[in-house]
Symmetry: C2
Subunit: 364 residues, 2 copies
DNA sequence: TTGAAAGCGCTAACAC
DNA sequence: GTGTTAGCGCTTTCAA
């Protein structure tokens, strides 16, 4: 294929471009008759029993080298692959880890997912990813995957699930919470100290001389939103400032547009803030865009602090000052907690708080 | 465990953070004993045979209503859930669709993923997401999931796989290509006409009076990169312009940083371009950031056109002019093609090209 | 060291 | 309409 794919590039490309234009390339597909062999076939071919093949397959050492070689040869010759479905049924595990994320599109989750994925692979697991859209119904159906034994355990990054945890049997299921968590439920979790982190953001603003500090927050049904609001309030109070309640905006979505809309609303107040703390970088980036559109300069007219430190934060204009969460580590830890719980269902699994840090750039 | 996990947070967190960081948490495997009931238990409880329970479970209509009710009651009372592992073994399908994406972090893929997910769910499938990191080895191991019957089919968004397709048996496996595809291979695909799309981008720049147009492209091992380069070249030639080869930059990564670096390099030429076409929005956003850092104004000093139209494109400063791909539809179509292929392995599945469009904003 | 055989939990013939 | 039963492909005692 190396050679055939290296046919004069231009000629091939052009013809294929033409084929593409028409959009009509017909692809008569051959029958995918994959995996016809079973362990019995291999056994027969190697002149041994299925038990022996199984032993070889699983690397048991009680097989004579000569026998092993014969089996290995038969496997190779037949192109045999283990049917994991059968193996899973037998061993009662799927080696799949369910990950529920509220919004795949939010770059905040991408790095967390990578962390989960890497640890999962290290331990022979695959990640079954589900976008819940923060919808309770869908979430519930995803938990069913656990009940149906289609996944061995779950990592939930989705706030909506947490509250459900108490009400249903989901607390008997093998899952852990990541980022959004309730320490008072018996579910293992990993996250950061949202209260302190939000306080850090606000204290930074305070240190820069801002006194009129707005907050753009998620609905307080989210625990992290509650904690960040408390952190915001706490820092302000400690500085002897009574925050204007009109400066607290609630959004139902963390996307760019929501940030822009909230910022616009904020600046239309008779008495607008001179700084804003948004509880997500995506929100903050939307805020900056909205502000710019309305003719305000950041940080001169109004300072902006975000939360998360997604890779984009450094790229926008002005680069975003934000609270960094250790995203990759958050994901890795969540996966380890879950694996730990699976390995030892009766042991108590700890809750973990990871450190955050303030990253000062130009927006505040 | 609820109580034992309620130990003072600080002390617990610290020790566990250390254990987890080390990655050495020991994971001796024990049997997770959830879901103790089987279909036999339900049958017994309802005073019927397992076959009848199975019939009820699968909604067959040859069951007397009274019997059905009895079974349903028994199911409810026992909290029984189907063991999908067993069902899958029996029916030889997992109802899992594998999706291979080169980089979860690239927002371009997020909307495609949503499209896939929605169609998959509509048809009772779940999406098993794998980040290949554009790595051939990992990709290969993901294809193994198909061979092992752990997934029924796959959607591959990853360039690296395409070339592999010819060389290995992967062309007998049930998969489809999305976004990156080779019309000359017998694999169903969906994508856009990259040649024309790139041409449209360049013609827009031409129409705005630019003549010195640079290109920031992926390595030409990618088919889409080849086609876009051809489109770029074609449009330039048609306008009677001989493009300076030094204005063509190749990046090995589509992230923001790569765009910034390429832009910087471009502008250090003795004779820099006055416009740049980047083959990805993430790249283009990095270009803008890099340019700004170096003191260039967009679009006054240099115009920038991107590709994809991710949601962020409208948020950056200046808002990005770009080629929009119908991302959601791309994903939906890919899923449909795959489902179609699964439903009818012998039918020929078409290749599909979806329309793109130029979105003019302020960067060019 | 190897084999025979019993299931894992389910579906689908095939009987009644 | 309902029950009996034979597997799906594998792992794992238990014997030999």
């Amino acid at each position: 294929m190396a050679t055939s794919s290296r046919l004069s590039r231009s000629s091939r490309s052009i013809s294929s471009v033409e084929a593409l234009r028409s959009g009509k390339a017909d692809l008569s597909t051959a029958a995918p008759e994959f995996g016809r062999h079973s362990i019995a076939g291999v056994a027969e071919q190697a002149g041994v029993s299925v038990a022996t093949v199984s032993r070889v397959l699983n690397g048991h050492d009680n097989v004579r080298p000569a026998t092993r070689d014969r089996v290995l040869a038969a496997i190779k010759a037949s192109g045999y692959r283990v049917n994991e479905l059968a193996r899973n049924l037998r061993t009662a595990e799927s080696h799949l880890l369910l990950t529920m994320v509220p919004d795949i599109g939010n770059p905040f989750y991408a790095e967390i997912l990578r962390g989960i994925d890497s640890v999962a692979h290290e331990h022979g697991y695959f990640m079954l990813l589900c976008d819940t859209g923060a919808d309770l119904g869908r979430e519930r159906s995803y938990f069913d995957l656990l009940r149906q034994h289609r996944a061995d355990g779950a990592i939930c990054l989705d706030p909506a699930a947490i509250h459900q945890a108490l009400a249903e049997d989901s607390d008997t299921l093998p899952w852990v919470a990541c980022c959004e968590f309730d320490t008072s439920v018996g579910v293992p979790y990993v996250g950061i100290d949202n209260y302190t982190a939000a306080g850090d953001a606000v204290r930074h603003l305070l240190a820069r001389g801002h006194r009129r500090i707005g907050l753009i927050n998620s609905a307080d049904s989210y625990l992290y939103a509650q904690h960040r609001e408390l952190g915001y309030l706490g820092a302000l109070c400690a500085a002897g400032i009574a925050p204007d309640p009109r400066w607290r905006m609630t959004v139902t979505n963390l996307d760019y547009a929501a940030g822009g809309a909230a910022a616009t609303a904020l600046m239309q107040l008779a008495d607008p803030p001179d700084a804003v703390f948004a509880v997500s970088d995506t929100l903050a980036i939307g805020v900056i865009a909205g502000l710019r559109e309305a003719g305000w300069r950041v940080p001169d007219d109004i300072a902006v602090v975000g939360f998360d430190d997604i890779s984009l934060a450094a790229q926008v204009d002005p680069p975003l000052t934000t609270i960094a969460q250790p995203m990759r580590e958050l994901g890795e830890t969540a996966a380890r907690l879950l694996l730990q719980r699976l390995a030892n269902p009766h042991a108590s699994v700890p809750g973990v708080l990871l450190p955050h840090r303030l990253v000062v750039r130009k927006s505040a």
